[in-house]
């Protein structure tokens, strides 16, 4: 019994940290609709800053406390810079585009942190005055845990007062409910957005700073926390402060008792909670159903025409270049080109969902990875050759998409995106931890092409032909009756349903189709690399896909192809040249986002406008 009470207190302390990071994310999303991937970076920055401040003046309890608060304030300032110099410029860009910008910030902050503080983990001293444990029911309970719990309640109370009893808070709530109405009433939205972003950033910084008496500041903090924070926000309901609190407590307590009962599956547990919540309550525990990212499309994209002169030239050029390239370039360039062909298909399949169906997914790596694992496991367990193993890849991708899609297509907007992420992370956890079947982290080796295709040039042509054919198929589908119906469900699900379209079924089918196409790409990826590892299923693979699509441009079928080419080339060359490649890649993404808010394809639109 006493164990249960003490373990519950431990869980509450973890919940306190989780709440602080999640609530800031929730506020920022509620007001600005920005999915801020850099929220974890702000959290990491808070921890590093607090470490330095503590080293300077943290010898007493008050000094330590001041160090933590100062770190939070500085991170709030960083948030102000980020909002006014970057995000403010791109609120009008297509939705999700801010995501790309914040991803650029993640890369930049990661490298800058390494430059400033070095790569070693930094372990701060304990907080003076709270550096011991009290005896409680025969167990030791760290004093700092109790302090953290108290801080969480103080922050919760302060936020409640802020949102109920100040003009700023009321406006933030109003903006969360209806942005346009707030604007119509003559409120300067810009400062409201900036204010909300500063608040969110400072809370992230506070969350990070409060962690340093518990854990070392390290460069893996940013990505480690961001997915968990998203889970908490989504389970609680986007934009809901109370929701973030309840969800943080729920998840932390489950984890605290989970390690006692089934210590092996703690990684999956958190995603199972999210999946179950979203299936039962599609907008989170405290969220409102109408509150989605794709609010309504009052300005739907112009109807797509089947290629005018410029885009036709682009496609023919690609085809000719793809066929002719191996004749003129070196061996290694062929290897890179193979990767580009494969990733172009991956990006195209993601684009098919994002743009063709308006279905936002953060977990597209699942189907790419399932394709790779489908092929890899077929080689490893069944000793199949390359051709039959490659045939299994789309089946594996489609099967996964069929299963996960059934749940996902019932949701919309950000909730759907998060459920796709949850399924992808569950698949990743299974691959990572189920060593007996998948080989775990050590992966599956020896997935090499058959003898006839072992020459890089031959394998390139094989990959190029198949990937080009599938991309062509996807393009064809967009212009088929199915494609048009799908776009009708995207532009107005309500009207589409009113004329008798089964919206859910169309989306489910689109999901499965995109899953199969991503599976093909995954299968080829496995044979190109000779091995399959869990990281093909990881969130970073999904993010890479999103970056390619958004970099190229969302509103054109050429976008994902262009994005895959540019992203792969830049990454390959930059990593060869410099250790600071993340910094340069991040800066490049940020500049591109600001200069070309419609992606690289936006360039051609500019050219077209000039010439006409």
């Amino acid at each position: 019994m006493s164990f249960i009470v003490v373990q519950a207190i431990t869980g509450l302390a973890s919940a306190a940290s989780l709440f602080l990071i999640a609530v800031g994310l929730s506020i920022v999303f509620g007001v600005t609709r920005v999915v801020n991937f850099a929220h974890g970076s702000l959290y990491m920055l808070g921890a590093y800053l607090a470490f330095s401040f503590v080293a300077a003046f943290g010898e007493s309890f008050l000094g330590y406390l001041a160090a933590i608060l100062l770190a939070a304030i500085v991170v709030g300032g960083v948030g102000a810079v980020m909002e006014t110099s970057l995000l403010r410029r791109i609120y009008r860009a297509p939705e999700l585009f801010q995501l790309l910008a914040t991803f650029g910030v993640v890369l930049v902050v990661q490298d800058l942190t390494r430059l400033i503080w070095g790569a070693d983990d930094l372990f701060a001293p304990r907080m003076p005055g709270l550096d011991g444990a009290i005896q409680f029911l025969g167990h030791a309970v760290p004093q700092y845990d109790l302090f953290l719990i108290a801080v969480a309640f103080v922050v919760l109370g302060a936020l409640w007062l802020l949102f109920r009893h100040t003009r700023f808070g009321v406006l933030v709530r109003a903006a969360t409910e209806d942005r346009e109405m707030v604007a119509a009433l003559g409120i300067d939205q810009r400062w409201l957005f900036t204010g909300a972003f500063i608040l969110g950033a400072a809370l992230a910084g506070l969350g990070g700073a409060l962690q340093i008496p518990r854990q070392a500041a390290s460069l893996s903090m940013d990505l480690n926390i961001i997915v968990d924070a998203f889970v908490v926000v989504v389970v609680g309901g986007m934009g809901s402060i109370m929701g973030a609190f309840v969800a943080a407590v729920l998840i932390s307590e489950l984890l605290a008792f989970g390690v006692v009962i089934f210590p092996e599956i703690t990684l999956v547990l958190i995603f199972m909670v999210m999946a179950v919540t979203l299936v039962l309550k599609p907008s989170g525990l405290f969220g409102r159903p109408e509150f989605t990212m794709a609010e309504d499309r009052r300005n739907p994209d112009p109807p797509l025409r089947a290629g005018d002169g410029l885009s036709r030239i682009f496609w023919w050029f690609l085809l000719v270049a793809g066929v002719a390239a191996p004749l003129v370039i070196g061996d290694f360039a062929v290897v890179v080109l193979t990767e580009i062909a494969i990733l172009a298909l991956f990006a195209a399949s993601l684009h098919f969902l994002l743009w063709g169906g308006g279905l936002i997914t953060f977990g597209h790596a699942a189907y790419f990875g399932l394709g790779a694992y489908g092929s890899g496991l077929a080689v490893f367990h069944l000793s199949l050759g390359m051709a039959p193993a490659l045939l299994l890849a789309p089946l594996a991708g489609a099967a996964g998409a069929l299963l996960f899609g059934w749940f996902c297509v019932r949701l919309s907007g950000i909730y759907m995106a998060m459920l796709t992420l949850a399924f992808a992370q569950m698949a990743w956890s299974a691959a990572f931890q189920w060593v007996g079947f998948t080989g775990g982290d050590n992966g599956i080796l020896g997935v090499w092409p058959s003898a006839w295709a072992s020459d890089p040039v031959v394998f390139y042509y094989l990959a190029f032909v198949v990937c080009a054919a599938v991309i062509w198929g996807l393009r064809h589908t967009v212009f088929s009756p199915f494609g048009y119906t799908l776009r009708a469900t995207r532009d107005s699900a309500l009207r589409a349903a009113a004329i008798g379209v089964d919206v859910t079924r169309h989306r489910w089918l689109a999901f499965t189709l995109a899953g199969a196409a991503a599976g093909v790409a995954g299968g080829f990826f496995a044979f190109a690399k000779g091995s399959v590892f869990p990281d093909v299923l990881f969130v970073s693979t999904s993010v890479d896909g999103l970056v390619m699509v958004l970099l190229g441009g969302l509103q054109s079928l050429a976008g994902p192809i262009l994005g895959a080419i540019v992203f792969t080339e830049i990454e390959t060359e930059l990593t060869r040249l410099t250790d600071l490649w993340q910094l340069f890649l991040g800066l490049l993404i940020i500049v591109l986002v600001v200069v070309l808010p419609h992606g690289l394809v936006g360039l051609s639109a500019l050219v077209r406008r000039r010439s006409s």
Binding site: T266, V336, D441, W448, S531
Partner: protein
Amino acid sequence: MLRMRIRTHITATVAALLTLFSASFAGAQQDPIRIGEINSYTGPLASFTVPYRNGWQLAVEEINAKGGVLGRSLEVISRDDGAKPADAVKFAEELVRREKVDLIAGTFLSNIGLAVADFAARNKVLFVASEPLSDAIVWEKGNDYTFRLRPSTYMQAAMLAEEAAKLPAKRWATVAPNYEYGQSAVRAFQDVLKGLRPDVEFVGEQWPALFKLDAGATVQALALAKPDAIFNVTFSIDLAKFVREGQLRGLFQDRHVVSLLTGEPEYLDPLKDEAPEGWIVTGYPWQGIEGTAHKAFLDAYRKRFNDYPRAGSIVGYNTILTIAAMLEKAGSTDTDAMVAAMKDLQLDTPFGPITYRSLDHQSTMGAYVGRTAKVDGKGVMVDFRYANGADYLPDDATVRKLRPAK
């Protein structure tokens, strides 16, 4: 300041010219021997790989200053894989196809080591796997072209199990990150310890997700099992959390703790004055190792980098020593000759002589086993001894069973 910088520039230029000059004499104007090197130099792993890079840079400089190998200088072409196996394979392709390197070396993460090893076998390129720990690299998935330097998970777990068997403890609990490394380490430790002490039992196990240790809850759950002793495999940020929570909650009071790799400066130093005392660990006590070979390495390293070496530094250094010794023995950069030379290759390192076993391509480089203590507010290893890797490998028949014959 500026003048100093100019002066260093001039010195560097003169030194470079001199090297060029002497190399062109000694090397009879031959091209350098090109070594492709891949590791995870950016991101969270940089704190482990940068000391390793210093280590191999030092060795390359020392060898080239003496005129290189086979009359040719060594040139290392290094790439960052960003901790992604797929990118590591891409750069292996690049190094072999575009840069035309003579052999590949490096890697830190086990999965990247395995991916590159598989690539090496397929493309018939020699691969000296310097840092990855996984047993599979030389056993289940071993191949003709891959040789591994660092003592493996099994070897280090066996060293600790031998010490653990001497303890009175009967009830053991384990805590390890839930992935291949953690699982193999626990399995190896349990197997060897049970072989030595049939009376021990394992009463609890914790499998936190890597880098996501829920420290308070895990410590409580371990205490609930009431073990006499704990075997720990967590490392890096997980270790720091585990140590602080465990000390706060009194988990380590009156309990023995045996901990893998914790004596390596990479893992011990970040704990500063909270470094645990009395844990039995494997590691690298650079401050106290006797012997002239290590002394020379230590002095040269500190002089060159103004920093003390980490475990990775010695691995990086030994990697290049291995390659140089192998080239001398092979007499050429022909891959078959180099692979043949790697088998039963013997060389002297700062840790003493090591051999690359022809049986499974594992080197006999060992590790230091000792207890942790605090000196001047910092964690160090005391009462340590060098455990020769050769003594902690299974017998040959078992190894043959583990390693597929082609």
